[in-house]
């Protein structure tokens, strides 16, 4: 007997994605949809898309979606969550959106303990506008606005979002992952699932930062981009769980 062992998650549309070859947005979209489906959440999911490469995320997800202004997605989600308290809300943001123009919005959503889940794509560069320096661009990294490489003396230092937000009382769960191999993809799906479970249990704010690739603007092949994440990016942005207040019914976490 034939058996379906792999299919498109219910929350994704059957349509080609516009992302560049080797970009990890597509993997993360799929993981969000899989995590929600595993939790039985697809009828009452609301997503907030950012400004950046994922601006058209509503073409890929089947749920109700909002396109937010640059950096304002956490504020839009705050309004949505007040209006639809029983819905499962996810916010999808890149590093320019979240850590630069939207820093106030993400910090205050986190400290209020807003009960939604943020998926934070950190690839250290502005993808959609053509490879400019991001708040998370690493020292020495060449971009179109730091052409000799980011010099902390001239351009300032990168921001570490998980470290920063985990100092706040409001967040329930904060973790940093990658999607560079099967193991890390699975770990990311579990982290996203944990974030959504926190939300379902009304535990408060959850954020999963995913170190991501941008082969086009890294000027690297897709494979070398993955290698760059595993060998360089993770040194500046260590993987792990930065905050976890534990789920209801779980043994208390240390």
């Amino acid at each position: 007997m034939d058996q379906v062992v792999f299919r498109k998650p219910k929350l994704l549309n059957d349509t080609p994605m516009h992302y560049c070859p080797g970009c990890t947005h597509g993997i993360v979209h799929r993981l969000i949809a899989e995590a929600l489906e595993e939790l039985g959440e697809y009828d009452n999911v609301i997503g907030i898309a950012p400004v950046g490469c994922a601006v058209f995320a509503y073409n890929y997800f089947r749920c109700d979606m909002y396109e937010a202004a640059h950096g304002r997605a956490p504020s839009v989600a705050t309004g949505v969550k007040r209006a639809c308290e029983d819905s499962t809300v996810f916010v999808y943001q890149g590093d320019g959106d979240l850590a630069s123009i939207g820093m106030a919005e993400i910090v205050h959503a986190a400290t209020r303990g807003e009960n939604f889940t943020v998926i934070f794509i950190n690839n250290g560069i502005y993808g959609m506008t053509g490879g400019q320096m991001a708040p998370t661009t690493l020292p020495g990294q060449k971009t179109t606005t730091s052409q000799q490489g980011r010099d902390p003396k001239e351009h300032g230092n990168p921001i570490k979002v998980c470290e920063l937000l985990s100092t706040l009382t409001g967040p329930a769960y904060i973790a940093r992952t990658t999607v560079t191999d099967v193991k890390s993809v699975r770990a990311t799906r579990e982290a996203i699932k944990r974030g959504f479970t926190m939300q379902k249990q009304k535990r408060g704010f959850s954020l999963i930062e995913i170190l991501s690739t941008c082969p086009t603007n890294f000027h690297l092949s897709p494979l070398d981009s993955m290698k760059y994440i595993d060998e360089v990016a993770v040194k500046a942005y260590p993987l792990g769980v930065y905050k976890d207040i534990g789920l209801i019914g779980e043994e208390k976490k240390q």
Binding site: D43, A49, D64, M65, T78, G79, R82, A83, S87, E105
Partner: protein, 359 residues
């Protein structure tokens, strides 16, 4: 039953009566009583109040709650309204209904906290980036502030467009007897099928203002313009005061119109045939009424305003369509100063008409 209400609190209670259940605010004088009132009042009716980290954030919370179909509101004053303009543009683009109260203070920059009408052009000509319009009501009393705030939610829903209640520091801070409109139950309002609030039965709803194809965006602009033209046809509101036989007509809105009424009475007593024309909607502006007055023989219009020549632009624009070419002048006080009825009457009596407020 009439009660003594402070303007800002009347606006807040009228919003609750209209079914507003989400309010997002940020402190700025002279509108603070609105968020303060909402912070406790909305809890009583099962609504939500959030004090946002900025006006930028507050208007985007309105985008979310309004987009989910709930009657949502924010309020601010000059500098804060400037910060909200980005969000207002997105809200207008995504066609989300909401109500914004602007209790104007004097500018530019941080300016002062005294009454002013210095946000007129920002309010009526769009305010933010891109081609859009905000529907603007200009109440002249605490009673009217309550009535128009109540009505603002219906207009916002009817057109899926932001509606602004444009008051000033005086209207917000003063107390007058007023009756708040009878409260409605928001559950009785028509269902907003377009609202992105989950449980969509498999039919995705997207609220967005991005249209990358020029033809699609042009069509969207065409649709918005049709909406603004329909507003002009169906919702334009104004008041005439002793204009039937007037030679000179003062044009003023909001609290200044109250001052001008007293000035008109003074001038009439002195034998001068003066009248007052008061736009109640500033967008859509009642241009046609100005044309009628000019065609009917009014030969002098004086824009009386608390701004450096903003309202006069719409007065002149309206009169362009008249067969006649009446004189148009301005009498203004700014910076937080407010004219007395005697000042306006004196200006008219002197007979000199200038199109610059400093001459």
């Amino acid at each position: 039953m009439k009660k003594l209400w402070k303007g800002n609190e009347a606006v807040a209670e009228a919003a609750v009566a209209a079914g507003c259940r989400c309010f997002f605010g940020y402190p700025i004088t002279p509108q603070n009583e609105i968020p303060e009132y909402m912070s406790w009042r909305l809890k009583e009716v099962g609504g939500h109040f959030v004090q946002a980290e900025s006006e930028v954030s507050a208007i985007n919370m309105v985008y979310g709650a309004g987009g989910a179909g709930v009657r949502a509101m924010t309020s601010s004053s000059g500098p804060g309204i400037s910060l909200k303009q980005e969000g207002i543009s997105y809200i207008a683009g995504a066609e989300i209904p909401c109500v914004i109260a602007d209790m104007m203070r004097a500018g530019p920059g941080l300016g002062g906290i005294q009454p002013s009408q210095s946000d007129y052009l920002q309010a009526v000509k769009g305010g933010g980036h891109g081609d859009y319009k905000v529907f603007v009501y200009a109440p002249a009393s605490v009673q009217e502030a309550a009535d128009l705030t109540f009505k603002a939610f219906d207009i916002a829903d009817k057109y899926r467009n932001p509606v602004m209640v444009l008051g000033d520091g005086m209207l917000g801070q003063m107390m007058e007897p007023a009756e708040i409109p009878a409260a409605i139950d928001p559950a009785t309002l028509p269902v907003k099928k377009w609202a992105a609030c989950g449980h969509n039965g498999g039919k995705q709803r997207v609220l967005s203002s991005i249209l990358m194809n020029p033809d699609d965006l042009e069509e969207h602009n065409r649709k918005l313009t049709r909406k603004y033209e329909q507003m002009a046809k169906e919702e334009t509101a104004y008041e005439h005061y002793r204009t039937e036989d007037a030679d000179i007509v003062l044009v003023a809105y909001g609290i200044v119109a109250r001052i001008c009424k007293a000035a008109v009475d003074m001038l009439r007593q002195a034998g001068i045939k003066a009248g007052l024309f008061r736009p109640i909607t500033l967008f859509p502006f009642p241009y046609g009424q100005l044309v009628k007055l000019a065609d009917g023989g009014v030969n002098k219009f004086i824009s009386v305003e608390l701004s450096c020549g903003q309202l006069i632009e719409d007065v002149k624009l309206g009169l362009y369509d008249s067969k006649n070419r009446p004189e148009v002048g301005i009498y203004a006080r700014v910076g937080g100063n407010v004219m007395k009825p005697e000042d306006v009457a004196d200006y008219v009596r002197k007979g000199k008409v200038s199109s610059s407020w400093i001459k």
